[in-house]
């Protein structure tokens, strides 16, 4: 079989295109695929001086260790609880807001509203946590002063296990509902006005219109965004949590990624941390696969 001639033909025709791809490819191969080789650590008792390929192989021992840890069930439960709440409220809030905003006739109001609510999305969680730590402070934060003014006792939002998950979900919704509202609003405005007109002729009131025209009109995009977020369920917002949590709220705030972080980078149990991370990546991959398949079937969405 002649291998050289077809290669030379391809080189002559598209050589430059290949060369253009290679620098980026090199970096991705090194830092992303090279990192995948590091997954071997999940099955080794990793010794830094020996590296990935020479550390002692211990098979499933790391996993046995993790399963026996008291932290593990709690961490998994927290991850799922927090993620689910974020998905639910992260869906209701922008949809309702978009529906309400759709009823507003003054375009100027709409634009100003969007500009305002959209802003927190672009700030880092470091900045937002700085703001939250001030306004949620139990001693002199604005929110607790309000609560005291209404006759209540101060709530330690960031330090009380009864409130921490609420704080996480609420602040996450606050940060991101703005840009989701815009996406839903775009879907709403693309619903054909003739549908509304026809229903008015048939005597439908606003509520009936919303129920039978508007909501079905945005169901595809809702399904799309929700199923796509399924793949992220195990993430539960590591960035946010690492900025807001503290040992006092590990009981309700510790998630899989924060455990991996502490085990790996603070306690140097590289093998164990890698094992947990590996498991999470595999499950996430399966979830992403399922979610893309569902998005394709239910909302006709193709990634390419």
């Amino acid at each position: 079989m002649d291998v050289i001639a077809p290669l030379r033909r391809e080189w002559n025709r598209n050589g430059l295109l290949h060369v253009m791809v290679w620098p980026a490819l090199f970096l991705v191969l090194l830092y992303h695929y090279g990192a995948m080789a590091g997954l071997l650590m999940a099955f080794e008792r990793y010794v830094p001086t020996k590296g990935f390929f020479n550390s002692p192989w211990i098979g499933w021992d790391n996993y046995k260790y993790v399963i026996a840890l008291p932290d593990t069930p709690r961490v998994i439960v927290n991850t799922l609880k927090i993620s689910t709440m974020k998905i639910i409220f992260g869906l209701i809030t922008p949809v309702v807001t978009a529906l309400l905003l759709n009823e507003v006739r003054k375009m100027a109001f709409r634009r100003i509203f969007q500009t305002i609510v959209y802003f927190p999305h672009f700030l880092s969680w470091v900045i937002i946590s700085g703001i939250l730590m001030d306004i949620l402070s139990p001693s002199d934060g604005m929110v607790n002063r309000l609560i005291a003014g209404l006759g209540g006792k101060p709530i330690f939002f960031l330090g009380d296990n009864n409130w921490f998950q609420f704080t996480l979900v609420a602040s996450d919704v606050w940060k991101d509902f703005g840009f989701k509202t815009i996406v839903y609003l775009a879907a709403l405005t693309s619903i054909s006005p003739t549908l509304y007109e026809a229903s008015e002729i048939d005597g439908a009131n606003r509520w009936q219109q919303t129920l039978h025209i508007t909501l079905p009109g945005i169901v595809p995009i809702i399904i799309l965004l929700t199923t796509l977020s399924l793949g992220e369920v195990l993430n539960a917002g590591f960035d946010q949590i690492l900025n807001l949590y503290s040992p006092a709220v590990y009981k309700t705030g510790d998630v899989i990624d924060t455990l991996v972080y502490r085990l790996g980078l603070q306690q140097f149990q590289y093998g164990v941390a890698t094992a947990v991370g590996f498991f999470k990546s595999c499950v996430s991959l399966i979830l992403i696969g399922i979610s893309y398949f569902l998005a394709y079937r239910l909302a006709n969405y193709r990634i390419f």
Binding site: V21, G34, G38, M41, F52, F113, F119
Partner: protein
Amino acid sequence: MFTVINYLLLTGLAAVCMLPFLHVLSISLSSAQEVAAGRVGLYPAKFTWASYETVFGSAGYMKASLVSLERIALGVSLNMLLTVLLAYPLSKESGQFRMRTVYVWLFILPMLFSGGMIPTYMIVKETGLIDSIWALILPNAVPIFNVVLLLNFFRGIPREMEESAKIDGANHFTIMWRIYVPVSMAGLATVFLFAVVAHWNSWFDGMIYLNSPKDYPLQTYLHMSFTVKDFSEMTPEELEHYFKVDDRTGRAAQIFVAALPILLVYPFLQRHFMKGIVLGSVKE
């Protein structure tokens, strides 16, 4: 009636979004005693620039800002270069460029499955990037989401332009630089803005790959100021740094100055973000 309630509700919602910022801004512009006494609401009490003077006079804060700027200069340049270099070949149809699909999958796969935090840390260590600013730049030098965005943009450019250039004897490089890039300024602006914001907001990589607070970019510096809870894990440098920043007006000013660049580019972000969303995601 409904309209009135609607406007009220929405205004209330917008207020909830804005009030925290106004409050923190007011704190930063008020005197420390007024803040401690709880007299600052939505506007400053005893207006003063003092906390901002402290921020700009703080060597640590300014150094960290410079590091962030340096990281943006190097990182975004590399991002843009690689984005354009990738978007052009991958925008060709697979009829013309057969390896295209293979390359695309090679780049998409890491988005779906990764080695994770620890293995990535190991690779960064093995390539000698620990304590170097390049640890903040190289591992994520290829912003695949931006590449897909620009790729779709390139696909919208009429084939005739490329074909007539080919007739005139241009090679792919020339076509890319002389035709595609000038025509795609809007798409490039979008990709550029996303890259800048991503680098400005990034803090975790600085925390794990850099050991000395002197090397921290701004967001990492701020994170260490705001959230350290376990003093036993801090180095003497970090301890000293933490106790220096322990006041509300100072913190508020730090927050505001760090958010300021985002505020400044916000009008442009708004304009380009929707375009980006439309281009990069939903396709029927």
